[in-house]
Symmetry: D2
Subunit: 367 residues, 4 copies
């Protein structure tokens, strides 16, 4: 067999030069038995993010450093960066933070990537999406579907800070990137302020004019925090608690019941005082920002303590569980995920952690 093995080795080397690779040597690497990712669990402190954005504010303004540039810092997953993947928070998603100061303006552009914003703090800024000016307030969730023109402006006081989410790594992986600055930097505003949010004001009623619009993008460009918190509280009162995610809801598109953003899933989840969810894992990945309270998550045996403003990553197929550290206050996490992608492609899978009554053993503490 030794001889055969040598001959095989010679064969492997020969075909490599001919740009051929035998399946028998590559299969375990390209077709592993279970999902493998280079992404690692990681956490960025909210304070650090804010501080760096403030520093960036001293150094450059929106529009500088490129046609339609914003003052954005992307959270790069160390594991993916090590493999040469730039700007990736998970294998498919990019999370970032952005700041804008009073009087500033971030020029309009559009692209094939989907985007959303979750407002961390501040007031008085707005984003204009496809001719509609959308006001931003803490806890609001705003949509920018792919190929929608969008720009930001701040006409209020104090810095305005938000989290951006996009599917940059996914669109890059499939080479389908298109990007275009707006020919006139600023869109014409064609609708009343906050038009879409006011049209879908309350309850599940659709303006008659939309009766044949069932597709994407969503007719609703923004979801107010007031409604989100109300929905969380109502579900809490009904004791509807998901074992892995606590009191949890997803933002949906009223036109079709699909995800608000057709290619990025977004959820809000509340952990009750003292609650500690069970662990599970799934193909989809997620990025969470702490909106209220404090606690920790255990991801693949590593403990990540978090408090308001922190952002952390749960990579593909990583075991994870969440715990509210307070005995009196709820903790609230907003998150983004790639569930819509995996659902469209029917590649989602999920597994509960079966040992130790569903709780991992903590073997490491992130710091």
């Amino acid at each position: 067999m030794q001889l055969k093995s040598e001959a095989l080795q010679t064969f492997h080397e020969k075909v490599e030069k001919e740009h051929l690779i035998p399946l028998w040597i590559s299969a375990p690497l390209i077709m592993p038995a279970q999902p493998k990712t280079d992404a690692v669990p990681y956490l960025w402190r909210g304070e650090l993010l804010r501080e760096r954005l403030m520093e960036a504010g001293e150094l450059l303004a929106p529009g500088e450093g490129g046609d339609s540039m914003r003052r954005v810092l992307i959270l790069e997953n160390p594991g993916l960066k090590a493999k040469g993947l730039m700007g990736s928070t998970t294998q498919t998603l990019t999370a970032a933070v952005q700041i804008i100061f009073p009087g500033e303006f971030a020029p309009a552009h559009r692209h094939s990537q989907s985007a959303f914003r979750f407002i961390i703090s501040g007031q008085g800024a707005s984003t204009t999406v496809q001719g509609e000016k959308v006001l931003m307030a803490e806890g609001d969730y705003l949509l920018t579907d792919r190929y929608c023109w969008h720009e930001h402006v701040h006409e209020g006081e104090g810095p305005m800070l938000w989290m951006d989410g996009l599917d940059i790594p996914f669109v890059k992986a499939v080479n389908a990137t298109f990007f275009e600055p707006h020919p006139e930097e600023k869109q014409k505003v064609e609708f009343p302020v906050d038009f879409s949010r006011r049209r879908y004001a309350d309850g599940m009623l659709r303006p008659l004019a939309d009766r044949n619009k069932r597709g994407d993008p969503s007719p609703l460009a923004a979801y107010s925090w007031k409604k989100t918190i109300n929905a969380l509280k109502s579900l809490d009162e009904l004791d509807e608690v998901d074992p892995f995610d606590g009191i949890a809801l997803e933002y949906i598109n009223p036109a079709n019941g699909g995800p608000a953003n057709p290619y990025i899933g977004n959820r809000i989840q509340m952990l009750r005082p003292g609650q500690h969810t069970k662990a599970h894992r799934h193909v989809h990945s997620s990025v969470h920002i702490v909106h209220a309270g404090s606690g920790y998550s255990v991801i693949n045996g590593e403990r990540f303590d978090w408090s308001k403003g922190d952002i952390f990553v749960v990579p593909t197929w990583a075991w994870h569980e969440h715990a509210n550290g307070s005995a009196s206050e709820p903790a609230i996490l907003f998150s983004m995920n790639d569930v819509p992608l995996f659902e469209k492609l029917q590649l989602e899978a999920e597994e509960p952690y079966r040992e130790n009554r569903g709780y991992q053993t903590v073997s490491k503490i992130f710091s």
Copy 2:
């Protein structure tokens, strides 16, 4: 040609006995060039309806006169009744009014017909649908999808009155009727009171547990008046006025963006003070109940004056326009239609009235 004509006549008579009919004599009747209906425009006074229901209250109680009977009066279209069609308000829809008194109970049943309720007046009654007790209050809109068990009970004070809508004539026309009394008269209540309405509390957020439920029936069993009026007002502020229907919205199913009731469309419309909509006609038919204000509608040239509680019919392909009679108060109409049916079957068509700047000439006044 006379000879031929006689021979033809003889032929017609012969084949009739053989249960054959030539297309050349039947085509104009069975394939008319445009929609024809035996249904006529008609209006029932709210006062009359209330009075008759109160009288019926003296004469029998729910459960009497049949297994799972309710105290219901169906509004029969005179034109359809004349053709032998029983219980039809339009060719496809049945509108009815129902009353229930404190302490009464209408036993559970289910059927292949879809149903909804729109609450006219009273409080303290509830309907239990598929194990969920749903509270009723004035202006609320409640669903009973086909094959859902449902029963009514009144634990409050005073008479409770509502409008029922069903697709009885349509299901009858296609012979697909199924009806079944509940084996135990009363369902077990399996959920907290008003469970579904509280789960979909506010905003467009879906409880995580529903993430794979995109079908019918709607996860939301009831729509509160408070939200409905809020949505009307918001649209009013945005000046979104439909030329034929005023400020108008349709109730939708948050799971899929389809109609709240998959086989009956329901809308709420507000006519601004002094507003007079333009006339049009369409294949779908509708029945309207006046929820607030007063005014009139012109249907095929006949004027129907209406005020709170009145119910009127707009048959298939009838020209119609609506006018608010008040210079200061809005008028609000709730309506049912068969739009979902015609959309599923792709048989809807619509035509604006082009003469006289869109307004019909009134040639008759209904009384």
Copy 3:
């Protein structure tokens, strides 16, 4: 109770004049516990149909008796006719036979009813549908989707005879009839003869130009008998026998896998020599034409003997079973049904006959 009963009677009479009907007296009639139809099982002899069409040929030509008239005899269900429903073979469907002679031309028109043709005998005629001339040969199945312009012409020898199927009663019941003669009697032929059938020649391959056409009408306007019989034989060899329908296939639209005609289902079924299927019933109704062989069907206990050319009706919810009367030859039935309608509306239901090992007792013989 007598008094109350009299008072009730008085009440019923009073409200009837006000166009109101109590549910407690109408419910059993308008919401029966199970499907009820006025349609009855019936059979028309093929010989009679042919004879009457030949006689009609002496009396009038296509185009006579109306703009775009054809020489068509509709098979009227005696039960429905008795209730005043004209031109109905089942509650939703119209079956008819049509004859055209060499040199004749049936002018173009279109309508909101769906139609198909199944060729009984003859050759050399064609139908032009939306600019495509489609050749007709015995056993071929041809489509005319709603609103498609269509006309017939006979350029061959001898009479050409076919069965027409339409959803006339259904479209009439919902008042959605539209009918229009072609402004120029004859369409322009825009494609090669038998274009669509040749484009979808063989196997399941779609011409690249159709890659974004997934809707109705079908891109395939005709199905050749050669393929149909081949498919029957292949399924026969595989022993795939439906207990109620024998060797059975349905014609489908290659663009979306739905029914070939989106609103009328069509099937071909073969009963093996000596085969006797089990009985069942369903909400959908059907009309069958005998294409080859002879045998009988038992419908609601009545036996209908049939041979080539005969057409018979299975009404809604009627128990039915089929038997091939020959010990050596297969029997082949082509049929039309309203399955697509009931599937779109989710109103289909089915029940196997459980007594007597699945076979009805024959209590009557049709003649």
Copy 4:
């Protein structure tokens, strides 16, 4: 500005250590204005592929070198390999060639990747997919949908050679790989040989038993060359020529009209004698194998001459055109692409080459 620039540089370095990257430096790389791929156009000679497979036949047998291994050589795109992507022919697709000798058996497994086979030469081998034994013959196209158990066996004479196609790189890029060897190496055969191909024998007729199966995987596991060539010829006779692809068809799933393989598109195209198609580019990538004839393709200005058995790659967004080199014989190419993926994700885009009447200038000849 120099100062600011230095300060910015310092800032960039600082945040890099904190796993943050500014958008203003990364945007052009991660969000390019148009699709960019590391994949390059490339061609492998059919002779070389066959020779290497024969050599591999001397060195190892199926089953060696791993649980459920096959004798497969993957065609690695040099551009992607250089970036560390193993086993990728385009950014999303893997093309490979496989050989099996009489008496050999390749053990059963299943995985989350989709696969198909296109038979190059030989006879007598078969693949068993989900309990159905499917015969292979030259020009046949066979499906193995994701998660379907499959194995190969050769019971005939001489080597059997085919092309495999999978979406390995895509599934790897989103980390959704699952792979499982069959617990018993061999599946039980549960159906007659070539069951599915015989069930969907001819014409567009669906066996009644499949009436509610409208999803994936396709009910049809294999497409015979005889039908494919017949379809090509029929389209040729109709003169339906795509300007970019010649006479072209795609394999479809008869259950729903979608692609035969839900995640990989497959097409057959014929270039008429002397035909030279126009150039265009699109987001989707493709891999072509020459099934008959000879000619060349120009891809991004480089000319690739090809003849029977050769396989070449058209990467994302590469300009490309095809030419039949013969004046008398047609050339036939079978191809795989990622169109279904881009259609599901709505990321496809296409652009015709507008200069030089649609033909590129050849600046380089591949050898």
